[in-house]
């Protein structure tokens, strides 16, 4: 959506630095994510992309800098607080709950919205069951949305990789997040699966108005999907702008050519 620049800022990252025992993962990075946009974070391997997501949703605590989400400034929060404030996440290496079915995995995304207490849960009639059913309906809408009806009751461990990724997206959607962080949603997929996933991501953005930040290696996908792109390299920001601006940026080309040269060697 071209009018992204005019929208209000949802997440503002200012001068964030993160290191592990002297190893710098992120150095003084600032950028923002605006409401309703698809924001891509790209960069070569080890550029600090995943660390950035981990800072945003509280898995890592940055040593420096602030993060402002929906107007609230903070250095770090607990991951569950990030979830409560409306941030959902998928993972680079699928992090589904292996022992559960597709349905239960997506249902688990509803945890925050279920409130019936222990004793209602214990007898499982009346309010607890009504709540369970109401959320089941929500989950079924997501299953329908992602076209995974045929694997509804299959344990996720038995699913092929592409479908696992889709279920993981479903689980994040079940949280009805305002900000959705996608860590390489298309890694390891074939062309057809990538096209499906791109369609789902765009649909999420359009139909639900969800703001999306995604890390992705497939440049074609990034250029097609995103409104704005931020480029990291060795933990620093080297470019930020629309896909077209970024594509022609000297520093970006160097960073990627460097990678290409190394790989060629």
């Amino acid at each position: 959506m071209s009018d992204a620049g005019a929208r209000e800022i949802m997440l503002d990252i200012e001068n964030v630095s993160l290191s592990f025992g002297g190893v710098k993962a992120i150095t003084d990075i600032s950028f923002d994510i605006r409401k309703g946009e698809v924001r891509a974070i790209i960069g070569p391997n080890g550029a600090g992309k995943t660390s950035m997501l981990n800072v945003i949703n509280g898995v890592y605590r940055p040593q420096k800098g602030t993060i402002t989400f929906k107007g609230r400034i903070r250095r770090s929060i607990q991951p569950y607080q990030a979830a409560q404030s409306g941030i959902a996440r998928t993972f680079q290496n699928v992090a589904l709950f292996k022992g559960m079915s597709t349905l239960d995995n997506i249902m688990s995304g509803r945890s925050l919205r279920m409130h019936r207490n222990f004793f209602w849960q214990l007898i499982h009639v009346g309010p607890a069951r009504d709540e369970e059913i109401a959320h089941r309906r929500k989950v079924e809408e997501i299953i329908d949305f992602l076209e995974i009806q045929h694997i509804r009751k299959v344990p996720v461990g038995k699913l092929p990789y592409g479908l696992q990724k889709r279920v993981e997206l479903g689980r994040a959607l079940a949280m009805e997040p305002e900000l959705l962080l996608l860590d390489e949603p298309m890694a390891g997929m074939n062309l057809e699966e990538k096209e499906d996933m791109s369609r789902f991501i765009l649909d999420v953005n359009h139909e639900f108005g969800t703001t999306i930040a995604l890390i992705e290696h497939d440049m074609g996908v990034v250029m097609d999907l995103s409104d704005r792109v931020v480029v990291l390299d060795y933990g620093r920001k080297i470019a930020d702008g629309t896909p077209d601006q970024v594509k022609s940026d000297r520093a970006v080309i160097d960073a990627y050519l460097g990678v290409a040269r190394q790989e060629a060697r």
Partner: protein, 319 residues
């Protein structure tokens, strides 16, 4: 106030009053600490090479001692009995490798843990079935181990008694640890063993199969168990009641970390000494017998501050 006094004042007064007694307590703690360390060492060997939390280590101690004594009682000459016992531990190692490790490779920790508990049941049954269930006397003199004691004057009118067997135990323990250290650092197999702890593929490239390595570590820890069993047996009876000392050795591991040899030694000493001092000076306050859990509590408190143990490496969670 009495309670606070009992906890924070009286024990220290007591220590200062009778320094010779304190030294005596420390010495005994040191000796049992060494034995704990030995059990923990056997445990670490196995965990390092195969990731198995070997609950049967304690039973192996008893089983080895029982076999030795049992064979001798059946009329086998002592040297031959010793050799045969070692052979039995070797067979056990091969059997464990073939019938437990190999089929269960890549199973979750808890399954392997359960398998070693199953092994415990088996060894208890086997030991008692073959040699009878009644407690036995360790054949200390027959093995040429010293008995008797030396009294060393301490301070003004104090006295510290050193049992010769304890001294022997300390020496043997030190020798074994040194030997193991040399084995790990100087021999090809030893280096392969260290490699396997880090990376199974790396070990294969050294040209030693995992199966061989498992058999070797189980055998090595069987020998350690035999030494421990002899010494512990010399200090009390040989019976399956000894099993409990194996459980007591667990906090040692927590303190030292599952994979660290120095950790096992340091942890063993901390637990051995801490336990004795706690029992003697603070025990009466609580009605005695606190030895049974004190080590665990120490380990627990310790864990809360360093979840990865004394010598373990810090874990960074990656997502």
């Amino acid at each position: 106030m009495d309670l606070l006094n009992g906890i924070f004042v009286a024990p220290f007064v007591q220590m200062a009053d009778a320094p010779d007694f304190l030294v005596q307590v420390l010495w005994e703690g040191f000796v049992s600490g060494i034995l704990y360390a030995l059990i923990a060492l056997g445990f670490v060997l196995i965990f390092k090479a195969s990731g198995v939390f070997n609950f049967a280590q304690g039973i192996m101690v008893v089983f080895a001692a029982l076999t030795l004594v049992g064979l001798y009682q059946k009329g086998v000459p002592v040297i031959l009995a010793l050799i045969l016992t070692m052979a039995v531990m070797g067979i056990l190692a091969l059997a464990v490798e073939r019938f437990i490790m190999r089929p269960l490779v890549n199973q979750p920790h808890v399954i392997l843990l359960m398998a070693t508990i199953g092994l415990t049941y088996f060894l208890v049954g086997l030991g008692e079935f073959v040699f009878g269930g009644e407690p036995k006397q360790m054949i200390t003199t027959e093995l040429g181990l010293p008995t008797g004691s030396t009294e060393i004057p301490f301070g003004a009118q104090g006295m510290v008694i050193l049992q010769h067997i304890d001294i022997a135990a300390a020496i043997i323990a030190i020798v074994m640890v040194t030997a193991l250290a040399l084995f790990f650092n100087r021999t090809r197999i030893g280096r392969a063993l260290r490699a396997v702890a880090d990376d199974h593929q790396a070990a294969l490239s050294v040209g030693i199969s995992l199966h061989q390595i498992w058999a070797i570590v189980w055998f090595a820890s069987g020998l350690v168990a035999l030494a421990t069993g002899v010494m512990w047996g010399a200090r009390s009876d040989v019976s399956f009641a000894l099993e409990i000392i194996a459980l007591r050795a667990l906090p040692v591991l927590i303190l030292g970390g599952f994979t660290s040899v120095p950790g096992a030694i340091v942890g063993g000493l901390i637990v051995g000494i801490g336990e004795k001092i706690g029992e003697i000076y603070w025990g009466p306050l609580l009605g005695g017998g606190i030895e049974s859990w004190l080590a665990y509590m120490i380990a627990l408190v310790f864990l809360l501050f360093r979840p990865q143990g004394l010598f373990g490496e810090r874990i960074i969670e990656r997502v």
